[in-house]
């Protein structure tokens, strides 16, 4: 694992010691090289995991997430170049260091063996994200957004610390590899109910669950583009990953403890999809669509069947790439027009046809068009929830329809129609932007050729 951690850590001296005109080139290039080495993680052993040491391990659940994390860093750096143009070199280097620090903490979170270590890194990811949102966000509301983000996540995860220490005291070890085999059934009692809630709430807030999702539209909208990308693509998946790990220890009370949360997620996914239809702010629409997709993942993880786990993992990877790409597209709009309102920038297809192609691809993957991995994820989840309870198919079907509706609404409002006079002179798409979009799209499309690598440990 050190072969990823040390190069990532060394990206920081790289940026600080680079010449001013080489900051972006050095950091982007080297982070891209590191992301290529992450593909080595794919070499998994049979049913077991790839154990690097007593502290780090990776199995087929964390591998795709790790590769996504490391793939996203060069993309984030490419996307941030424009809005940081006017800043001083020190500020730019500080921004890149925050991103690298976040990357470091994320790598360590996804590969942590010891659950306390996982918790520490989980909380540590909050700090660079908060700094990125509040320092480099665009509007005064970003302070409010940072506050919501920080306190929601902290309040949710403090009970997790207590629960983990309790488990350490009772079971004897929090090393995940050992815990898999030592986990004892958790009988029904009030203290175990609270134990379950304590373990799960942190991840519910992070996912986010429908009732606890208030921080997400604020944080996503106010964050700068790199912040939005990492929030949508990775930080939400931390919740899913944590839930998948911790539910191993919480049987059999999960069977009935999960009911309220499944209901909430099923209802929430339709609610948030419907809100997307009424959004006027582009970033806000994409943020709510993230909540909707993650609600599917929550349902899948809580019903705990092999198919649903496969669907959840696939959906997490697919949504990570799609949401990040949609945020990049929205940002390319914002940089030209300085407004996030959808109706002020219409008819872009006539002016920027290649960008319209990326918009089309991103919207199509967002609405889970076959044969993309988005569809595979959603389909597995729909099938497993149908076998869990037949009625859920109505809700899932309704959600898929509404998802298609708002994705196409977003596409048609921004791309089709007559363009307004005040966008006559927008700059044509930069190569950097086209490269960014293609680097998002390429893994997405290639994975539909071989989706088994992202289907997780239960494949």
């Amino acid at each position: 694992m050190l072969k990823y951690i040390i190069p990532t850590m060394m990206l920081m001296p790289l940026t600080w010691l680079s010449k001013n005109n080489m900051i972006w080139i050095n950091s982007t290039l080297h982070s891209l090289l590191i992301s290529f080495t992450s593909l080595l993680l794919m070499n998994q052993f049979g049913d077991n995991s790839l154990n690097f040491s007593l502290t780090f391990f990776s199995d087929s659940l964390s591998t795709p997430l790790l590769i996504l994390t490391m793939w996203l860093l060069p993309l984030m750096l490419m996307a941030s170049q424009h809005h940081l143009l006017k800043e001083s070199p020190t500020r730019k280097k500080l921004f890149i260091s925050m991103l690298v620090l976040l990357q470091l903490f994320l790598i360590m979170t996804f590969t942590a063996t010891e659950l306390i270590f996982f918790y520490i890194m989980f909380e540590a990811t909050l700090v660079p994200t908060l700094i990125i949102i509040t320092r480099w966000g665009n509007q005064t509301e970003r302070l409010n957004a940072g506050l919501y983000f920080l306190f929601y996540t902290l309040t949710g995860s403090l009970p997790l610390l207590v629960a983990l220490i309790h488990i350490q005291n009772t079971v004897g070890s929090l090393n995940f590899l050992i815990l898999q085999y030592w986990a004892q059934p958790v009988p029904n009692s009030w203290s175990n109910v609270f134990l379950w809630l304590a373990c799960m709430m942190a991840f519910m807030v992070k996912m986010p669950l429908y009732g606890l999702h208030l921080w997400l539209p604020k944080a996503h909208v106010e964050a700068p583009i790199a912040g939005s990308m990492v929030l949508a693509a990775i930080l939400l998946k931390l919740g899913g990953y944590g839930m998948m790990r911790i539910t191993l220890l919480l049987n059999p009370i999960t069977d009935y403890m999960a009911y309220p949360f499944i209901m909430l997620s099923l209802w929430g996914m339709i609610m948030t999809s419907s809100i997307c239809l009424r959004q006027t702010d582009l970033k806000s629409l994409i943020a709510y669509s993230s909540v909707s997709h993650m609600a599917l993942v929550i349902v899948a993880i809580l019903i705990q069947t092999p198919w649903s786990y496969m669907g959840a993992t696939a959906l997490m990877i697919a949504h990570g790439l799609t949401s990040s790409m949609l945020f990049c597209l929205a940002n390319s709009n914002y940089e030209r027009i300085h407004s996030r309102t959808m109706i002020l920038a219409r008819g872009l297809q006539t002016l920027l046809p290649l960008m319209a192609a990326w918009w089309l691809l991103a919207s199509l993957t967002n609405l889970a068009l076959p044969p993309t991995i988005n569809l595979i994820g959603e389909l597995f989840v729909v099938m497993s929830t149908f076998s869990w309870s037949n009625i859920t198919i109505i809700l899932m079907g309704l959600n898929m329809v509404i998802t298609a509706l708002y994705s196409l609404y977003m596409l048609i409002t921004t791309q089709r129609g007559k363009h307004t006079h005040h966008i006559n002179n927008i700059l044509p798409s930069f190569t950097r932007e086209n490269a960014l979009m293609s680097l998002h799209m390429l893994p997405l499309l290639l994975l539909s050729l071989n989706p088994k690598i992202i289907l997780g440990p239960l494949y």
Binding site: N138, Q139, T140, L143, N144, L147, Y148, R278, T280, I337, H338, S339, T341, M342, I343, L344, A345, K418, H419, T420, H421, H422, I423, N424, N425, I426, L427
Partner: protein
């Protein structure tokens, strides 16, 4: 809450003095400090504006979709129609920047307040017709929950334009155009005029046109306040400040015919606060120039007219402030309640003001006698020499009048063709104009606001086609001349 409970319980005992206060107040000012701390804590709660470093509530927001420069009736009208025509509520953030919230020098409130349909261009007639309908139904358009209805004090007394021999043919042609658009105007011969308005001296009058419907005068201040109230309820932000700078970026592009143009786009508006050096850069997508008499300065800030003369870049916005006086006099023997707004062929005009035998009126000065627009001082000699003789000649009763007061206001005078400029600038592509109406801006404001909002949201005029009023005509030399100017 504890205080209130205590007060209720000990009510009869205490002599009405609040708990915690005592005669003379405290030098430590506990109450003030406590309320400040409470306010600070409350601002940290989610949902409130929190700025940990210093109070920025007087500054405009850091970004806004549309920034409207100028808070007069035209600017507020554009804001109103933008919020009304947006497809979803709350879609567009609008900021209105007004330099002077007392409106001490704004043309809107210093105007005579008349509305007429008797114009020579069909577009002007259509604009005034819609505006009259807007003003009639103002309490449906500008209704705010729990607020009292507006009383515009609309006096539908009509306009009476008099024409001499030379102007009679033009007047007939204009009336034909007005009737085609739907205005109700009647033509009167001097005999009919004498019979209807016996106080007029019809010497030198060959023809008169009298507006029968939708013409008269109203209270512009009431319209302004009604618009402000409605806009505040619709979520438009108001800010007091002066626009000092536009940050823009240019890009070189080629037209379809191969010639090079430089298109400019405004990214930020710097709004400077009163009496301080503090300014706030407001990031915006669209800027609306509704600055009235000072639109020319705002246009220059945006780079309109900086270029070699004779090119589109070098075409300035030909709007400049022109001072016009309005005099208020008292004349008990005057025309009375039935008097419309009478406009003499010599240029003098007057109308009844209120019910106490007061009248107000003036005369547009000729090009040579244009007063200096540097200040709003009134020149009473102008009245003595130019206005009174003409008034007295037309209405003999006005020989014995007594001037009560006077004021001066600016026309946002379009030196090119005395008609408004609407729509986007061809080169500074996100600046829209709504200015230059040279004295008939107030009466056309509702319709112009709608037209500009349609242009911004749809990209073309939908209800009234104002293409003759676009900016391009200054470069191409196509005058949309308005002949009936008061």
């Amino acid at each position: 809450m504890l205080r209130r409970a205590l007060r209720l319980r000990l009510g009869p005992c205490l002599s009405g003095r609040g708990l915690g206060t005592y005669r003379g107040g405290s030098t430590l000012d506990w109450d003030g400090k406590v309320s400040k701390i409470k306010k600070k804590i409350q601002s940290i709660f989610p949902g409130r504006a929190w700025s940990p470093l210093y109070d920025t509530s007087h500054l405009p927001p850091e970004r806004s979709d549309v920034v409207i420069v100028g808070g007069g009736v035209l600017g507020l009208s554009v804001a109103y129609w933008l919020k009304r025509l947006e497809k979803q509520q709350g879609a567009i953030q609008v900021l209105v920047v007004e330099r002077d919230h007392t409106y001490a020098r704004a043309s809107t409130v210093l105007s005579v307040g008349g509305i007429r349909q008797q114009f020579s261009l069909p577009e002007n007639v259509q604009l005034s017709l819609f505006s009259a309908e807007f003003l009639r139904n103002i309490n449906e358009y500008l209704a705010v929950v729990d607020d009292p209805p507006l009383d515009l004090q609309f006096n539908p007394s009509g306009y009476l334009l008099l024409a001499s021999e030379e102007g009679a043919a033009i007047m007939e042609r204009n009336v034909k155009i007005q009737r085609q658009e739907g205005a109700k105007v009647c033509l009167m011969s001097p005999e009919q005029l004498q019979k209807k308005f016996p106080w007029i001296n019809t010497e030198g009058v060959a023809l008169a046109s009298y507006g029968l419907e939708n013409e008269g005068w109203f209270d512009p201040w009431c319209l302004l306040q009604g618009l402000r109230r409605k806009l505040q309820s619709m979520g438009v932000l108001f800010c007091q400040g002066e626009v000092t700078r536009f940050i823009s970026s240019s890009s070189h592009m080629e037209t379809a015919s191969g010639e090079q143009v430089t298109l400019k786009r405004i990214h930020e508006v710097h709004v400077k606060m009163d009496h301080s050096q503090e300014f706030q850069p407001v990031e915006c997508a669209i800027v609306v120039n509704a600055a009235g008499a000072w639109s020319g300065q705002i246009a220059e800030l945006a780079g309109v007219g900086t270029g070699p003369p004779g090119t589109m870049q070098g075409t300035k916005l030909p709007v400049e402030p022109r001072k016009r006086y309005v005099y208020l006099w008292h004349c008990p023997q005057g025309p009375g309640l039935e008097a419309p707004l009478v406009a003499d062929p010599s240029g003098a005009y007057f109308r009844r003001e209120g019910l106490g035998n007061n009248y107000l009126g003036s005369c547009s000065p000729t090009e040579e006698e244009e007063p200096d627009p540097g200040n709003l001082e009134v020149d009473y000699d102008f009245f003595q020499e130019k206005v009174w003789p003409r008034l007295a000649q037309r209405v003999p009763a006005f020989e014995t009048l007594k001037v009560r007061s006077a004021w001066a206001g600016y026309y946002d005078y379009n030196t090119f063709d005395q008609n408004g400029v609407v729509g986007p600038h061809p080169l500074v592509i996100n600046m829209y104009f709504a200015t230059g109406f040279s004295g008939h801006g107030l009466q056309q404001a509702p319709a112009v606001g709608r037209a500009v909002a349609e242009m911004m949201l749809e990209g073309h005029f939908q209800t009234i086609n104002l293409s003759p009023f676009l900016f391009g005509r200054f470069y191409f030399g196509e005058k949309a001349q308005e002949h009936c100017i008061l």
